[in-house]
């Protein structure tokens, strides 16, 4: 009913922080449109999450529950959300630009005959026609574009770690059930199994120590790991990151890649070692609170976007730094 609707993401029974960010931007949009904010949750047991959602200020939390919806199965989720949207009739529908969002968004847009903009970094309402203004970086980060599309709901996927998460307000909202009419025959893609790989969740790091081509060798990452270990004594979650070049050279696996086609990170501290600063990498870490660069090339782009810099061979500085950190702790 003309709400601003958010697709909530449930992780281990609780709302994921991305959902809180969506609630944050959703609240703003709802205010501009003078409508209410609601959340839709999909899964086999989402009651707890629904309660959480209203406590964060959603006027309504819709539960789309079904045993078949346990785990993400795109065919069923798309069908369920299609039905939910035709009942809820939201004015705006937002999802996170996650792997699920990337899959659901386009397919839902097609089924609901609306138009989607992905990976938005800013959203606002055009006062002239009440349509959603979607801002996103294009051309690999070389330009920023604002789009407007027709269709209802106004559909967008939102980039994570850009908007502020909403704070809990102890709200009292409604919780409603929407029973999806789905069955197994709708599943066109059968899952044969999931293989877990040891990957790092870079976007959860408090501090990232990243290496690039300037490390000159695979062993450079061993040194960065030592630095990470030393830093983790004073900082929470410290992880090693890398540029695409380092991954291409086979020095480190792609789950460590920071950048446009890797992971977008915005830790408290980003330490860049031997990275010159290609745009695709920079857009992946530019929102870090503090950026520190170690590089032998004084003129490299990385220094231009850093808060602190050392022009020196990392092989000399990093061991000394590790030592000094031990002394200071």
């Amino acid at each position: 009913m003309n709400d601003v609707l958010i697709l909530g993401d449930v992780k281990e029974g609780a709302l994921d922080i991305r959902t809180l960010e969506l609630l944050g931007v959703g609240k703003k949009l709802a205010g501009s449109l003078n409508v209410e904010l609601s959340v839709v949750l999909v899964g086999d047991a989402v009651s707890e999450a629904a309660k959480q959602a209203v406590s964060y200020g959603a006027a309504r939390a819709y539960k789309v529950e079904h045993p078949l919806l346990k785990g993400f199965k795109a065919d069923l989720w798309v069908a369920s959300l299609e039905q939910a949207c035709s009942k809820i009739k939201p004015k705006v529908f937002l999802m996170g630009h996650s792997l699920t969002g990337m899959e659901l968004g386009p397919r839902l847009a097609c089924r609901l005959d609306t138009r989607l903009t992905t990976d938005c970094t800013d959203l606002s309402i055009d006062p002239k026609d009440g349509l959603l203004l979607r801002t996103k970086p294009v051309s690999g980060g070389n330009a920023v574009s604002v789009f407007k599309c027709r269709g209802e709901p106004q559909l967008a996927t939102v980039r994570g770690k850009v908007f502020e998460p909403v704070a809990a307000v102890d709200g009292k909202g409604e919780i409603m059930d929407i029973a999806p009419a789905i069955d197994e025959s709708m599943i066109k893609v059968e899952s044969l199994g999931i293989v877990r790989e040891e990957t790092v969740a870079l976007d959860k790091a408090d501090v990232v120590v990243a290496g690039g081509a300037g490390l000159e060798e695979k062993e450079g990452f061993d040194m960065l790991q030592e630095l990470s270990n030393a830093l983790s004594k004073s900082f929470g979650n410290v992880m090693v990151g890398a540029t695409r070049v380092a991954v291409d050279k086979g020095w480190i696996t792609s789950d460590h890649q920071v950048g446009l086609t890797g992971t977008m990170v915005s830790p408290d501290i980003f330490v860049s070692v031997g990275i010159s600063g290609a745009i695709q990498h920079i857009v992946g870490m530019i929102h870090s609170k503090k950026i520190i660069t170690i590089n032998t090339d004084r003129g490299c782009t990385m220094f231009k976007v850093s808060d602190y810099g050392i022009v020196e061979d990392y092989k000399k500085v990093v061991p000394a730094l590790i030592q000094k950190l031990e002394e200071l702790s």
């Binding site: 899959e103 051309s139 330009a143 790989e197 446009l260 220094f303 602190y308 000394a320």
Partner: protein
Amino acid sequence: MKELEIIVCAKQIPDPEAPLSDVRVDSEKMEVIVDAPQVISPFDENALEAALRIKEEMGAKITVLSMGKKVSDTVMRKNLAAGADKLILLQDDAFENLDSHSTAGVLADAIRKIGEYDLILTGRQAGDWDFGQVGLILGELLGLPCVSLAREIKVKDGNVLVKKNILGGYEEVKAKMPALVTVSNEVGELRYISKTKMLTMLRGGASIPTWKSGDFVSAGAKLQKMNIVELSSPPDMRRDCEMLEGSTPAEKAGKLAAIFKSLR
């Protein structure tokens, strides 16, 4: 056994590797002007590589489609030089700057005109606009099973078996063909195509079928352009960098350690 028919959708874009210094943002015309040669979008090359590997393993006929206002057959012939069997260019002024839905619609019409197919492969997103929608919308429009973010594709007994990226690993899925799969770079880089192969393909002179909108787009289809409200250069990301100087690396390291301490 009938030969496997694979369709690959490949977009022509300016080289995404071009440095920032070669990019100009024209806010008035709302155009990003890149002083770089046109290339095949990288993820679409990955899609072609996936198709070629299937062809090598079990034989297949690969048709490549490319849509745009002006599609260069010099650039697109690379697909043929790599081993694709057929190339069809969908070229018309009406195809300029279409939004994802319309693009998918045009491709769907072209594919319906082609008729028979088992597998449609596309890159997960284009290197210029990075929307990542056309593949999945195309799958929906054609009513096909859709798998996205593939890192490995195999075909067996009328099914496509895909390893797809998920958070923390990958998932193995199976879908009955005909199906659509969008491909990610983990599939592998397109093999190197030597200049000689490219030139032979170019000089070979075999004409490339070019279809205009009227040849295949369904009557009454509304081709919607992207509605760009504003286009600008990215905000200045520069920061004032404080250089930590010292006469020895140890001295510089000491200053940095102090900064870390202050940030705790």
